[in-house]
Every structure is written in structure tokens, then in C-alpha cells.
């Protein structure tokens, strides 16, 4: 099972959509609120070179935004 972390903010609707999509496909996700966790926010910005959420970290591979195709590929989610 791949380790999946979701970097998000409290009232970000796109983050919620992404979270729900992952849950529907049986993916276990650790949610991190980067508005509270400065270390995680720093890590996210450094890895993605961007300041925007949602961001997924799938076993060290960072995906910015709800890039469904890419996320499905990495996680092996069947369409």
C-alpha cells in the first residue's frame, strides 16, 4: 500500500473533492492542514515550488492540484 499524504487548507473545496475521490477509491489518506502545520507547509512549497493546494504526496511523488489522470496512474486506480 502506498503512503499518501494530502496537504490542504480548512475551507478549500477542491481539497475536499480530491479527498472524497481518494476515499471512494479505497485509498487511505493522511490529511495535513498546512494553515496549522508550518513545517508541512514549508515542505510542500519546497517540493512543489508552488504555493497552492491541494497537493498530494504519494510515496515521495508530489502532485499539485486534482490531476485525476496522473493520480490514477500512480495509485493504479482503475477507471
Amino acid at each position: 500500500m502506498k503512503k499518501v499524504r494530502l496537504f490542504s487548507t480548512p475551507i478549500c473545496p477542491y481539497c475536499l473533492t480530491l479527498k472524497r475521490f481518494l476515499e471512494e477509491n479505497g485509498v487511505e489518506v493522511e490529511s495535513i492542514d498546512v494553515s496549522q502545520d508550518e513545517e508541512a507547509q514549508k515542505e510542500m512549497v519546497e517540493k512543489t515550488k508552488q504555493a497552492t493546494v491541494p497537493v498530494l504526496d504519494i510515496d515521495g511523488q508530489f502532485v499539485v492540484g486534482f490531476d485525476r489522470k496522473k493520480i490514477c496512474e500512480i495509485l493504479g486506480i482503475e477507471d
Binding site: Q41, K49, A51
Partner: protein
């Protein structure tokens, strides 16, 4: 496989159309990249949706999505990039897939308007954002500029005030167009408002560092663009007529476009009032007329 109905869009109009269609026991598919439409960008609570004296946009979106998912309707998170009609409607997505149907409801609403200036594309996600509810909290103790002095600009400014160390609104016009009430609140919160400011360029290195307007510059780490929303019906251009605003022209009773079986509902059509509750009502109406179209023209397996 041919669907009875494909609904394009996951805002208030699309979701309501989906709920109504599921109740008709037809084979329906809803295509949307995400849920909520323009509610996604709303940085203050919604106070005019019946049943809720006050509700945050994310909570209302969440309720809409859950309600829809409780019904018998297929949902796919894909963006529609093309629409045409041969024997059936053919809906093409950004993943290169084609879905066919007997009727289509377009409910794609409106997208945030772009500035179309230098640096806007380059710094998108690198300090520049169209989504304050998403990215606003990332600018804690930083300086932000909001471009646009309408109601949404002020709402965004007040939301960002909770995080940012300095908040400035740049408005192109000689005065702002937000309500008196919100202007007073902004004043009290120490939000800086500059009118007559035409933004020329967003500058920085890896991230935004300054905003150039007129002949001046203002230092900022974050820029939020709030200059309104505009519809984009270009993916359907072969089948619909649009007005000078780019809105799809529909029959005001049925929301049918010039193509039979193709409906446009919510902010994408030429209706003049743009409200969440109106979009919901329109979505319901389009779904009912789409059903009428289906039973008049087809013998549907799913309809007894």
C-alpha cells in the same frame, strides 16, 4: 453505450439537474472536474440559501455533493472539452474519452476572469491565485494584494485579513462597487484601498514579489484576482448560439438551446439573475424538460 442524459457541470445547477434526473430513473452521467462551481471561490458565508441562516460555501458544497451521490447517477471527475451531435450527442473530455447521450444539459457556469497581463500565467500557483478559500491560508503573516474592488474583492480581503500582515485592494475604476456595509468593515479592519489603479504586471523570481500598477509598485507575496466571472461555452460552439457576453441563448421556459435535446442552465445561459438558488431552480427545470424531450422522442429501456 448511450446514456439518456449527460449533465456537464457540478455547481448548483448541475447538481440539482442530477438529483432530478436520478429521480426519473433514466441512465444519467454527470461530468465535472469538481463540485460547487463559483461557490468554491466564495470567501464569506452564504446567507440567502433557504434552510440555512448562515452556511460556509464548503459546507453547502459538501451537502450538495453528498445529496447527489446518494442518488442513482454516475459521476466522473472529468472536464468536458468538446460537444457535438451525430446520431447522438458526443461529449469529449480532457482525458480524450467520448461519451454519447440522447440529451445533454450544459451547466458549466462561469470561470474566474483573467487579467491577461504579463506575469499572470507565470506566477499562477506561485503567489497568484484565483481561489482565496484554497490558497488564502498559505499567506499567513505575508502581504497580499487583491485585484478587483467589487463585492467579491472585499469579501476576499476580509477573509485574508485573518492571515495576512497587510491587505491591499487595487481597483481599476475611480471608485469601488462593493456595498457600503462591507466597505465600512474593510476600513475598520485596516484594509488599504487604492482606486484608479490599472495593474500592469506581476513580478518576482520564483514567487510573486511585487505588483506593478499605473507607474507604481507595491510589494506583495500573494495576489488574488477577483475581477468577476465569465462563461465559456466554446466547447459547445457548433450547437449553440451565444450573446455578446458569451452566454448560451436559451428558451426562457425550457432552457433548451437552438439544438433540440441540448439544454443550458444556470450561469452559462443568458438568464440575467445569477444566484445559487436560481441556478438550482433552473437545474431542476432543465432536468424536467430534458425528461420530456426523452420520453417524446425515444423509447427508453430505463423508462417503464
Amino acid at each position: 453505450m448511450v446514456y439518456d442524459l449527460i449533465i456537464i457541470g457540478g455547481g448548483p445547477a448541475g447538481v440539482t439537474a442530477g438529483i432530478y434526473s436520478a429521480r426519473q430513473r433514466i441512465k444519467a452521467l454527470l461530468l465535472t472536474k469538481s463540485f460547487g462551481g463559483q461557490m468554491v471561490h466564495k470567501a464569506v458565508e452564504i446567507e440567502n440559501y433557504p434552510g440555512f441562516e448562515k452556511i460556509s460555501s464548503i459546507e453547502l458544497i459538501d451537502r450538495f455533493e453528498k445529496h447527489l451521490r446518494s442518488k442513482d447517477i454516475e459521476i466522473k471527475n472529468e472536464k468536458v472539452v468538446g460537444l457535438d451531435k451525430k446520431e447522438f450527442f458526443e461529449v469529449v473530455t480532457d482525458e480524450g474519452k467520448t461519451f454519447r447521450s440522447r440529451a445533454v444539459i450544459v451547466a458549466t457556469g462561469a470561470e474566474p476572469k483573467r487579467l491577461n497581463i504579463k506575469g499572470e500565467k507565470e506566477f499562477l500557483g506561485k503567489g497568484l491565485s484565483y481561489c482565496p478559500t484554497c490558497d488564502g491560508p498559505l499567506f499567513s503573516k505575508k502581504r497580499v494584494v487583491i485585484i478587483g474592488g467589487g463585492e467579491a474583492g472585499f469579501e476576499t480581503a476580509l477573509f485574508l485579513r485573518k492571515y495576512a500582515s497587510a491587505v491591499t485592494i487595487l481597483e481599476r475604476g475611480e471608485k469601488v462597487f462593493a456595498s457600503q456595509e462591507i466597505q465600512e468593515r474593510a476600513k475598520k479592519e485596516g484594509i488599504n484601498i487604492i482606486t484608479g489603479a490599472t495593474v500592469k504586471e506581476i513580478k518576482g523570481k520564483d514567487f510573486v514579489e511585487e505588483v506593478l500598477y499605473n507607474d507604481e509598485s507595491i510589494a506583495a507575496e500573494g495576489v488574488f484576482v477577483q475581477i468577476g466571472h465569465a462563461p465559456d461555452a466554446s466547447f459547445a460552439k457548433n450547437l449553440v448560439d451565444v450573446n455578446d457576453k458569451g452566454e448560451i441563448i436559451v428558451d426562457p421556459e425550457t432552457y433548451e438551446t437552438r439544438t433540440k435535446g441540448l439544454f443550458a442552465t444556470g450561469d452559462i445561459n443568458n438568464g440575467r439573475m445569477k444566484q445559487i438558488v436560481i441556478a438550482c431552480g433552473e437545474g431542476a427545470r432543465a432536468a424536467l424538460f430534458a425528461y420530456n424531450h426523452l420520453i417524446k422522442n425515444y423509447e427508453l429501456d430505463s423508462i417503464n
